[in-house]
Amino acid sequence: MNKGRKTNMAGAGYRRWLWALLLAAGICFLGIGIWRGEAQTVWIKAIYICLECIGIG
């Protein structure tokens, strides 16, 4: 096995860990956001026409 291939496999291992960490962080953040009531904030914003978004101001 050459050095380049070893480095690639080590890099892939690091990326897998980083991916798992980001995915776990995403799930945790979603939970924290729901607990803080941010999901409710988003829903309240989303069920009324956003006049700024449609260019009315």
């Binding site: 995403g26 979603l30 941010e38 978004c53």
Partner: protein, 283 residues
């Protein structure tokens, strides 16, 4: 075949996330519980058909509400980004689909990029930091209210999918439309016209959601890999409308995973590889 599959996935996902037909017929938006959930693409929640929320809109909604950080919106972005990266841009975003369709229109001098492309691609990161995060957090109006700067002054997806259908169906909104509406329509028209001659100009240069997902391309579940059989002929870059040197950077932050490079490679050196699948051992 692959191109066709992508096209139909784009159509199906756009229809799924904007499937509230009653909204288009009556000029009213959906108010059900699924609006709590962010969809992965740039999909304005004021679109009459929208069944979910825009992640950028959700982020700004929380920031303009007084919070300094939105765990909920960032959680969605981390989740979508780590799973898909910019695959979302290429396969699941309605405004990306609109630009793809416009690029199919015959035009004598089509080009991949605008002049100054190498610098212009960085503008979307400025849009993300300044218009999406900083200004909504910091700038307050005379009554202490904060504004969603990106949605209000720039987002063409909101104008196309929400502004135009809602204003068209409501005399009251037509009365209220003023300079801001004219500005947003003009900006939308400019981008749509540009998209006929230049491939996906909004995605390349202005989209803050693309900017976010670009950070995930090298670690997302969906990956490309270049085999040792690559002969560096450059056909992948020729075929790539995002103008990426795929043989050098198969997981470039600009790659929207359209698969054109895979189809163009004469030696099938570019492979799709989920991150969690290990490479075959050497014999």
């Amino acid at each position: 075949m692959g191109k066709r599959i992508r096209f139909w996935v784009q159509i199906a996902f756009t229809a799924l996330t904007n499937g509230y037909i009653f909204g288009f017929l009556t000029g009213k938006i959906y108010t059900g519980p699924t609006k709590t959930i962010c969809v992965p693409g740039l999909n304005c929640y004021s679109c009459p058909g929208a069944l979910g929320s825009c992640p950028i809109g959700a982020l700004q909604a929380v920031l303009t509400g007084g919070s300094r950080f939105s765990f909920y919106a960032v959680g969605f972005l981390l989740l979508f980004g780590s799973l898909f990266g910019r695959f979302i841009c290429g396969w699941l975003c309605p405004f990306g689909l609109a630009q793809d369709l416009l690029y199919k229109i015959l035009f004598p001098r089509k080009r991949k990029n605008l002049p100054g492309h190498q610098w212009l691609v960085r503008v979307k990161y400025l849009v993300l930091v300044i218009l999406v995060i900083l200004l909504p957090m910091v700038v307050t109006g005379e009554f202490g209210q904060r504004s969603p700067w990106f949605c209000q002054y720039l987002c063409p997806s909101g104008t196309l999918m929400a502004g135009l259908p809602l204003v068209a169906s409501s005399p009251a909104l037509q009365e209220a439309a003023g300079f801001l509406f004219d500005w947003k329509v003009a900006l939308l028209l400019l981008l749509l016209l540009l998209a006929i001659g230049v491939y996906r100009p909004f995605c390349k240069y202005l989209c803050p959601l693309g900017a976010v997902y670009s950070f995930f391309n090298s670690v997302a579940c969906y990956q490309y890999r270049v085999e040792d059989t690559c002969i560096q002929c450059g056909k992948c870059q020729e075929a790539c409308k995002m103008d990426i040197r795929t043989w050098k950077q198969p997981n470039s932050p600009e790659c929207i995973r359209c698969g054109d490079c895979i189809r163009a490679c004469p030696v099938q050196a570019i492979q799709k590889e989920p991150l969690f699948r290990g490479r075959k051992k050497e014999e």
